[in-house]
């Protein structure tokens, strides 16, 4: 289904950084020298989780003649914003700067990325918003970067990858969650791995297909950690958005964590509420990929089993390939749900989206 009549809010797009060179103007002088001294500006910090030329990551008609898909704002306008009459679009950068082992280098590059995105994307189109890119290995430095960027209301979310060095619920991450909750910024957990651990307890797969499919399970593990460690108890106002996570795995997941909780609750006694309730209240998912079943009837059942009309947020996941043409909304969604997914739920999840319009017009 083509969502353009609704002027949707697109909650996941990926602007590409062709090489680190494009970040040089946005780095502090010290880091500019550090990077050029080491020849790192020529590096393409592509994530293993997202090989840029894989068919899944660059829809054929969205590939430019040269360079990676998603690098050109004019094409992004043409392919997405103008095609879908998009109201707002949230840009999520997927780049290896987030996962570098050296915390300070990672933080410096992430700072550069956030300045770059403000100058070359957000400043050039009032429909665009962005997540704050942060060094995943250092929650403290990540929290600092969030505080720095938060003044610009066009930054609407903190971006993490779902699989890092330690599960995202761990207390070491809490300085970041404290700041995010205080500032009213959702934590966007995007598919992707620092690949410090194999995708599962059974080791490293051979194929990208397998890695990508297993991402859904990675989200299950991440959410479990946030629940069991008590993130939502400690930070009850924190919103978490699972981005590019898949959708249809959710009901079976909810059934299983509820069942486990009834018997194992005593190990983590701060978990007083049924986990599915916490998830429905605090967690959201973007709609692409949907991992659609074969029939519309199955879609209907899955949506009923998800049990909340507030959880889903529209996304195209541009330029990743999950749908053809303008068919960005999965088939089989009930009409009363569609507007919620396309507009209401994103507005409710990201209160800053509309605020920055007001801010912009104040400046004009």
């Amino acid at each position: 289904m083509d969502p353009s009549p609704f002027q949707p809010i697109d909650c996941d797009l990926h602007p590409a950084i062709p090489t680190t060179r494009v970040l040089l103007p946005y780095l502090d002088a010290y880091w500019r020298e550090h990077i050029t001294r080491r020849g790192l500006e020529a590096d393409n910090l592509e994530l293993s989780s997202f090989p840029a030329n894989a068919p899944l990551n660059a829809r054929a008609d969205w590939r430019p003649e040269r360079g990676p898909a998603g690098a050109d704002i004019a094409l992004l306008r043409q392919h997405v914003l103008d095609t879908f009459h998009t109201r707002y679009a949230i840009l999520n950068v997927l780049n290896g700067a987030q996962i570098l082992h050296s915390e300070d280098l990672s933080a410096a590059l992430c700072r550069g990325i956030n300045r770059w995105i403000a100058a070359e994307w957000l400043d050039r189109d009032p429909r665009l918003r962005a997540s704050i890119t942060v060094p995943i290995r250092s929650p403290e430095l990540a929290a600092e970067e969030v505080e720095r960027c938060a003044e610009d209301k066009r930054f609407v979310q903190v971006l993490l990858l779902s699989q890092a060095e330690m599960p995202l619920g761990r207390r070491q991450y809490w300085p970041l969650y404290r700041v995010a909750e205080k500032l009213g910024l959702p934590i966007g957990i995007h598919a992707g791995s620092a690949q410090l651990h194999p995708p599962s307890a059974t080791g490293w797969f051979s194929y990208y297909l397998e890695d990508y499919v297993q991402q859904a399970q990675g989200f299950a593990g991440t959410l479990n950690s946030m629940l069991t460690e008590g993130v939502f108890v400690k930070f009850p106002k924190l919103k978490v958005v699972l981005i590019e996570s898949g959708v249809t795995w959710l009901p079976a997941y909810l059934w299983r964590i509820n069942k486990t909780w009834r018997g194992v609750r005593a190990e983590t006694p701060w978990q007083e509420r049924m986990p599915s309730e916490v998830i429905r209240e605090n967690v959201r998912l973007t709609t692409q990929p949907f991992d659609a079943p074969d029939t519309v009837s199955q879609v209907k059942t899955i949506l009923e089993e998800i049990g909340s009309d507030q959880m889903l947020l529209f996304s195209t996941d541009y330029p990743h390939w999950h749908f053809d043409g303008a068919d960005a909304v999965p088939e089989g969604l009930p009409p009363d749900l569609i507007r919620k997914i396309l507009v209401d739920n994103p507005l409710e999840t990201y209160p800053r989206l509309a605020q920055s319009d007001i801010a912009q017009s104040d400046l004009a």
């Binding site: 008590g230 400690k234 009834r262 018997g263 983590t268 006694p269 701060w270 049924m274």
Partner: protein, 137 residues
């Protein structure tokens, strides 16, 4: 309904349970700090012999890492899937969620944040008469 002596008071020491069969039903009689309570010996989840479970305390934590032991010896833990039941009332301490069909209202007790589940272990009235523990079945 008739009344049955199940034990003398000394027979069931504090913190223990005696399982008896009355009118074909197994009943666990508990001494909780010298008060007596009785539950039908059947877990509402999958029919486990509930009264063979462990008598435990309520483990709570208002915040992650802040562990508190409350209501020592007042909870019964199903020997199978570890569901926890209040020996006094039979109520299970898991949140019912909103989707199940329910026959009970879910009350929230004053001062406690937990909602009681619909899965209640069936209680049996117990009295102490002179030196005997008496159940009504």
């Amino acid at each position: 309904m008739s009344r049955h002596i199940v034990a003398s008071v000394e027979e069931i020491a504090p913190g223990t349970c005696k399982v008896v069969t009355i009118k074909g039903r197994e009943i666990g009689v508990f001494n909780v700090n010298n008060e007596f309570f009785a539950l039908i010996n059947r877990c509402p989840h999958q029919g486990a012999p509930l009264c063979q479970g462990a008598i435990v305390s309520r483990l709570v934590a208002p915040s992650p890492g802040d562990y508190r032991l409350e209501r020592s010896g007042e909870m019964l833990r199903c020997p199978w899937h570890c569901w926890e039941f209040d020996i006094r009332t039979g109520q299970s301490w898991c949140d019912p969620g909103s989707v199940h069909a329910r026959t009970y209202a879910c009350d929230v007790e004053p001062g406690e944040a937990l909602a009681k589940g619909p899965f209640a272990a069936e209680t049996v009235p117990v009295e102490v008469e002179q030196k005997y523990v008496v159940v009504t079945v």
